[in-house]
Symmetry: C2
Subunit: 151 residues, 2 copies
């Protein structure tokens, strides 16, 4: 078996297992509903808010592209984050079609709180692993990030 064939075979097996576990994890996370202490903070909104903090001041379009959702979907997410007082819309002075999205101090506070408080479900389950297993998971996380990354 060539190296390429072996890589393909182990990749498909891994993909199969990963798909199942990710689907279940995502479903469980969604069922936890509001993450952190803030009500209405869903996974999608948390992910968008984290992206805003990282990319601000960012246009709605590039935020949608970064999060792989369509612009109308991001409009909805921002509507809610804005209503919650966590994000801001500002019309670009150079090009008045463009909306710049920013994070409010409250948004930053909520983000930090969610990060430290963590998701009860995930953090509790992870805490049950031993130190070695957590270290392994910490090393695997960047790999997952590369798998989901663009390009």
């Amino acid at each position: 078996m060539s190296a390429t064939t072996a890589a393909t075979s182990s990749s498909t097996r891994l993909a199969s297992g990963l798909r199942l576990v990710v689907a279940r994890l995502a479903r469980r996370m969604r069922q936890q509903q509001s993450i952190g202490s803030t009500d209405d903070m869903t996974v999608a909104r948390y992910a968008a808010l984290a992206a805003i903090e990282r990319m601000q001041p960012v246009t709605l379009g590039s935020l949608a592209a970064a999060e792989h959702v369509q612009p109308p979907s991001m409009t909805r997410i921002i509507d809610r984050l804005e209503a919650m007082g966590l994000a801001t819309r500002t019309i670009d002075t150079n090009d008045r079609r463009v909306v710049r999205i920013g994070i409010t101090p409250e948004g930053g506070r909520v983000l930090a709180e969610v990060r430290t408080t963590g998701d009860a479900f995930l953090a509790k389950r992870i805490a049950r692993l031993n130190a070695e297993e957590r270290a392994l998971l910490a090393r695997a996380l960047p790999l997952l990030e590369r798998i989901v990354a663009d390009r």
Copy 2:
């Protein structure tokens, strides 16, 4: 810092990273829509079909419990799998309230095909990792399964 505190701190950091990457992975997987060559084979249906193969002949109720969805949701999933010719409903002869779910030969074939063909998105991305990284991912997968497991 006590061992417990260290475990908690690393767990919350890990949970935070894991949540973001799982949310993105799940969204990308959902966008791929039909996995494998079969149309309408969504992630939820694939997960249910895999569970049926593992547990058959299984009642609708225990299947719902195993997949952490409510019975009405599982009813819908089975409706579709049955219409696709991949799963069967059989009324239990001992207790006519109970429905036993089974997998058809076609269902088994589709499952095997999805497993070997794999999800184009995931398998292709995983194939880009080197052998060492794939080995690491393979070791991390059971940890994720334990995190999402019951109890």
